[in-house]
Structures are given as C-alpha cells and as structure tokens.
C-alpha cells in the first residue's frame, strides 16, 4: 500500500475548500483529517497491528494495549484460538471462570471478547509467560507534521479528503454546510460496500436541497 503524507492530504482538503486558508486554519484541517482517518479505519479496519502479551498462571483475562482499537484474532503459543462469544462460552463451559489448563487437562483453545479491548482465554493458561499474540484494528496515531505518513489504499486518501472537507464545511452552516453534507452522504454510500462489520447499519441521513426535495 502506498504511503500518503499529511501534506498531500492537507492540500487535497484545501482543493475542496477553494484554498481558503483564512477561514479554515491548518490546525483545524489537520484535526479533521485525523478524525476522517479514525472514521474510515472504524469502517474498514485498514490499519492493522499486533501486540504480544505473556500469560499469567490461572489468569483468564487480558487487556489489549492502547495501540489496539479492537481485537480480531488471538494466537496462543503460535496457534490460532477459536472465537466464542461470551454467551456461548458461558453455556459451553459453565465453569470457565475457574477452569485452567491444569484443572481441565486441555490446552487453551478459545478466546472471547469482553468489551472492546479485553479478552478472555479459556481454559485459563496454567503456565506463565507463554506468548499471547493479539491481532487487531489499530488505533490511528494522529498525524502532526507535514512529513508524517500513513499507509493506506489510494482510494481511501480521497475519501479522507472528502470527509475532512465535509467536517470543515459544516461549521459554516447554510449552503456551504449542505454541500459538505452531500460529501458525507456520498461517503456513506461508498462505505456500504467497504464496511468491515456486516451488522453495522448507518441511520438514514437526508440532505435537504430545497423544501421538499432531498438527496
């Protein structure tokens, strides 16, 4: 994937804002670019990362570090674990809260999310410092300097520019804000095919053009 610099994103946003640097200061545009990156990352999960943890004897609960937004896969000692929801874990292993690999004589086989950044391993490892590798969607690191880069697909760069420009334009109100919202409406349409979490349904959003007419 190509590296995109903050300066190229900023200039793309200013192209959409008619180069109005007086009304849209650079700090504001950069903030909105970072917001747009977070939004598109939430939809698509294009930023991935991994983190390593060490097991603690008898401990089933592990917290993902700040760099991970949500965990999508867990490997224990180099082997991928099965995924189970909290409800299914409770029904299939009613005593998982106290089960360990020593008491059940079976290896760690299942991971379960408990909240967005916390996972449960079942049965809990009885050994210490066995490698737990978390895969997940990364929490984006905000871009600050113009030379800062982000690794992304080229089409996402255009969407980030559109969304950041939209957010800048909303502060104006009136026709300018409405034009910005049309960019957001187009963004939502594109996200329908790119979204990662299938059950995510965006609420209906309608931009009023004239009285009684909307897009």
């Amino acid at each position: 994937m190509p590296l995109v610099t903050l300066s190229s994103l900023t200039s793309g946003v200013y192209d959409r804002l008619e180069q109005n640097t007086a009304f849209y200061p650079s700090s504001e545009v950069v903030g909105n670019i970072n917001d747009a990156i977070r939004t598109i990352n939430l939809y698509t999960g294009f930023l991935r990362t991994t983190a390593l943890l060490g097991s603690e004897p008898g401990q089933p609960i592990y917290d993902a570090p700040r760099s991970i937004l949500c965990v999508t896969r867990v490997d224990y000692n180099g082997r991928e674990l099965d995924f189970a929801s909290l409800a299914s874990l409770c029904h299939s292993r009613p005593r998982w809260i106290s089960d360990t690999t020593a008491t059940t004589d079976s290896p760690v086989s299942t991971w379960t999310p408990m909240g967005i950044k916390r996972i449960l391993l079942s049965p809990a490892p009885a050994d210490s410092q066995v490698e737990i590798k978390l895969y997940g969607v990364a929490e984006p690191v905000p871009l600050v300097n113009h030379s800062d880069t982000i690794n992304m697909q080229a089409e996402f760069a255009d969407m980030i520019k559109d969304l950041a420009a939209c957010q800048c334009m909303v502060k104006c109100g009136g026709v300018v804000a409405r034009d910005g919202m049309i960019l957001y409406k187009q963004f939502l349409t594109r996200m329908k095919s790119l979204k990662r979490f299938r059950r995510n349904v965006n609420p209906a959003f309608r931009v009023e053009i004239d009285k009684g007419v909307g897009v």
Partner: protein, 265 residues
Amino acid sequence: MYTVSMVYDEVCQLLLERGGLRFTYSSAAFLRDIHYAIVETCQRTAIVKEFFPIDFVAGTADYTLPDNAMDFHEAFAGNRHMQKVSSLYEDKDFGLDDTVLPQEWHRDTSDANVIHVIPPPSIGGSAPVDVQPSGGMYGTIGGPATAQDAFTVEDPLYGTLNSITGSYIESDGPFFGTISDITTGDESMIVIASVRPAATSYALSDVIPILPDTVCSYLKWFILEKIWSMDGEAKDIQRAAYATARKEEILGILAAIMEEDLPVE
C-alpha cells in the same frame, strides 16, 4: 490520551467560537453534557465490561451492584455460570434443602442495579475483614490463610497479589502490580456487567476515561446534536440531523463490533 478540553475545542471550532463558548452555549453546560455523552456511549454499546464480585448472604435473594454497573450480562455462583431467566418462568421448585447456591438470576422485577438470584443461597460469605495499612501496601500477599477475607486499601497498592482465592480486594487509590490469580470463593457471586466511568462530573483538564481515542473523537457530535436541536439562536435542523447521523454512526459501528460479528482474518 483524549482530554475533555480537546472535545471542548472541537465544539468551539464547529460553533465558530474560538477561545471558548460564550454565546449560544456555556462551558458549564458542555461539562454536564459530555458526561451524558460518555454515559450514553457506554450504555448503548457496552464496550467496557467488568467483573463485580459480591458476597452472598444466607437467605438473601437481592444483591445491589455499584452505581457504575449498567447492563448485567452474565453471573456466576461458586464459579459456576447461572442461567438468566425471566421472572415469569423462574423455577419455583428450588428449596433451600435442595441447593446451597443459586442456579438462576433475573433483574426484570428488581430495582435498578439489583440482581435477583434463585434460589437464595442457604449459606453466606464471611464478613469482610478490612485491612487498611497506612501509606499504601507494598510487596506480596501470598495466599491468605482464610478464604473470603476482604482487603480494602485506601492508599496506593504496589506489588503482586499471589493466589488470593476467595478474597475480595478493593483499592481506592492507584493500583500498581499484578494480580496473578483471582478466583471467586464458593460462597461468592461474580457478575459481568457493562460499566460507565465512576466519575459523574468532569473538568476541562480531565482525561476522558474508559473510551478509546477513536470513540472520543465522536463525542463532539453528541454535544452538537443537542446544541443545534434546541430552541435558540443556534438551532439548525439540517446540521442537527448531520450531528445525529455522526453520533449514530459511532454507536452503530461499536454495537456491531460488540455483537461479536468479528470478521475472519
């Protein structure tokens, strides 16, 4: 780390009030509403869940959880999962002679934050023993002799807690170190519930607790939805609809993640 002041600055920027809210909305209203925004996010998405240990009392069926517990998801008695049932269909055949520990739970006829267990336990946990060393606690607790002891530490807690089966530990101050093994005693209950931050008021310099930065970046839309919706000079129906869409966007995505619709890598 996202701070309350970062959200405040974003709201000021979108209201064209650089340098602070003065005209259509006040800082005090902002600090009130950011609390509501954080609570609404936690409540509607359940992205943060915690374990709440509770000691049983013989013959008592109702137990109250702390204020920051929201939806109860699962409950365990004596390390065994309890079935969630409806009060309409709860099993009335349980008798105190039949069972020592509760088998089922519900909360549909209970007060807020109260869990009702069925049948009531026939044995109770021991009374908590408070250990409150002055100046914090340093070092290692290596397995108390008696299970069901409770430790309340009001000062910072440093070190490692080893093998504290059946004990309850509460640290009101910062907590440093490792709990290597935390397991309920046979007479205790553990409830898994979604939580909101314990704080109910914020200052501009506060770090927003619990929520990841990506989620915090959406909090401004919760506030702006309210500002642009309420009667007054700032009322703007179209922008209110946009703020609502952005708010529902984050709540929808988080709810989708929490419905455990995780994709295969």
